[in-house]
């Protein structure tokens, strides 16, 4: 068994090194495609975090005073609930607001320590029947001067624009990433086919002396797997850089205040990295499996 493992590793290593230019091409293609793919996912996460408050058609938020009494709160709730211009609304309590805050700033423990539930006002997030800007402003303004209300904040056109543009960009990255992934799978397939061709005589002898099918196939499949894993590893490195210098850069920029909330948590980065690694492994295995099953007649 030990001999078999060392044989497999040696053969895989030899294959990788013998055609180093093809190996590098396959790894780079897969890493670039997965980096684009992963960055698109991170961008989506970032924008979702930045605009979480405005998802699902919410057009304005009625912020209550934390000190508002139950009667004031009930009056606001009733007038929102009974308004024919409101399609839906959500009440976010102080505890829920804190939980949301903790999710958003999970990587900033100092900030989390400094904030408690009582610091955060409860709010009503309102989805109007008609999303037209004038109608929304008119509707929201009705609540502005009511007792117990601290402020009414509207989803600005800018935020909607950011959501739309970010969606477009991340979707574009996703599509380019998918096309490149397909190219990477083809490149892996071709690399393995070339490797099989170069070792045709050896494979013939292996078959003659009774090497099992998987013994012949496995080094080629491992080669594809290495392409996938190394490519995905580089892509994850790329994603870390994108988060640090692009996404965090936006959120720290003073001139782009609207993007202040744009951030990707460590958990999200970890989660997306696992996705990218899994896709890299899958592409590597599928590319090489297709090559050995069609070109390696054992």
């Amino acid at each position: 068994m030990a001999l078999k493992v060392s044989y497999m590793l040696r053969e895989t290593g030899t294959n990788l090194v013998r055609r180093i230019s093809l190996t590098i091409a396959a790894i780079l293609t897969i890493s670039i495609s997965l980096a684009l793919f992963g960055s698109a996912l991170l961008a989506r996460d970032g924008v979702a975090n930045a605009t979480a408050r405005w998802e699902g058609g919410i057009e304005f938020v009625v912020w209550m005073n934390p000190e508002a009494d139950a009667d004031q709160d009930a009056a606001i709730r009733r007038s929102i609930d009974e308004s024919p211009a409101v399609r839906d609304f959500t009440y976010v309590s102080q505890d829920e607001a804190l939980a949301e805050f903790q999710d958003m700033f999970v990587d900033s423990p100092d900030l989390l320590d400094a904030v408690e539930a009582t610091d955060l006002p409860p709010s009503y997030r309102v989805v109007p029947v008609d999303p037209d800007a004038d109608v929304v402003v008119e509707l929201g303004s009705q609540f502005l001067n009511q007792p117990g209300v601290r402020d009414v904040v509207f989803a600005s056109e800018a935020i909607k624009d950011i959501q739309t543009q970010a969606d477009r960009i991340s979707q574009g990255l996703l599509y380019v990433g998918i096309v490149l992934l397909f190219a990477a799978a083809l490149l892996i397939l071709n690399t393995i086919v070339v490797a099989i061709g170069a070792r045709r005589q050896e494979i013939e002898v292996m078959k003659l002396v009774g090497a099992s099918n998987w013994f012949i196939r496995l080094p080629f499949m491992l080669e594809g797997l290495v392409h996938g894993i190394v490519g995905a590893g580089l892509a994850v490195g790329g994603m870390v850089i994108v988060r640090k210098y692009v996404i965090d850069g936006f959120s720290e920029s003073q001139s782009l205040a609207l993007l202040e909330g744009l951030r990707v948590t460590d958990a999200e980065l970890f989660n997306r990295s696992l996705w990218v690694l899994a896709i890299g492994v899958a592409v590597g295995i599928l590319g090489s499996l297709f090559a050995v099953s069609t070109k390696l007649d054992v």
């Binding site: 002898v205 002396v209 009774g210 013994f215 012949i216």
Partner: protein, 226 residues
């Protein structure tokens, strides 16, 4: 050891069958020459036995097993019991003599301790103890065929199939190779050898099976070439 029952083989696009309704029974430890002109079906006969080809019709038994019923993942295990040697040796040029022979054991998962014992022993048997580190390109044709025989026999197969093993060798060298095959046969290994070499067949006087246009036309004990 080997039994063919009404075996026929036709290749796609070919006018005539490569083998037609062949029936033969070869016992354990026999030495059989397959003779006949080029295209008479000798190579097809050999390729059917190690399942490089499958018959279009009929059944083939090797060591009592119907090899037509073998699933593809079991074919390698059949081949471990069948050694093969060829006219063109099929040695790996980038491996030394010892590595070529070791390769046959390595790829079927034999432990290193077994390989390090069996490789020098088999190379001594074929008379190449002093060529362990040589590359095939540095050897004569006869020596290369000896390496090929060592590789085919190192796993002690039940059957040795030889397709024109002396086809590329001069008569003197051929005699040496035949002596070696005879010696292997005496250990109980069944040998089936396709050949055009009249001198060898007439000298050895073993069972001769003659093929013509895919049919067995003669099966003679202690036979001659024709």
């Amino acid at each position: 050891m080997i039994k063919l029952e009404n075996v026929s083989k036709s290749y796609k696009g070919a006018d005539a069958a490569a083998l037609q309704n062949a029936n033969i029974d070869i016992g354990k430890g026999e030495f059989v020459f397959l003779v006949g002109p080029s295209g008479s079906g000798k190579s097809t006969f050999i390729r059917l036995l190690n399942k490089e080809e499958s018959p279009s019709d009929g059944r083939i038994f090797v060591a009592g097993k119907d090899i037509g019923q073998l699933s593809s993942w079991k074919v390698p295990y059949l081949r471990r019991n069948i050694g093969c040697i060829f006219q063109d040796f099929k040695l790996l040029e980038k491996k030394t003599v010892a590595e070529n022979v070791a390769f046959a054991l390595e790829v079927i998962g034999r432990p290193r301790s077994v390989i390090s014992k069996q490789v020098p022993a088999i190379l001594e048997l074929v008379g190449l103890s002093d060529k362990l580190s040589s590359f095939p390109g540095e050897l004569s044709g006869g020596e290369q065929q000896r390496v090929s025989i060592a590789r085919a026999f190192v796993n002690r197969p039940l059957i040795l199939l030889a397709d024109e093993p002396t086809g590329n060798l001069d008569p003197t060298t051929s005699v040496g190779i035949m002596r070696l095959l005879d010696r292997i046969n005496r250990t109980g290994t069944t040998v089936v050898m396709a050949t055009h070499d009249r001198g060898i067949v007439d000298t050895m006087r073993r069972r001769v099976v003659e093929l013509d246009k895919g049919s067995i036309v003669r099966d003679q004990a202690q036979g001659v070439y024709e």
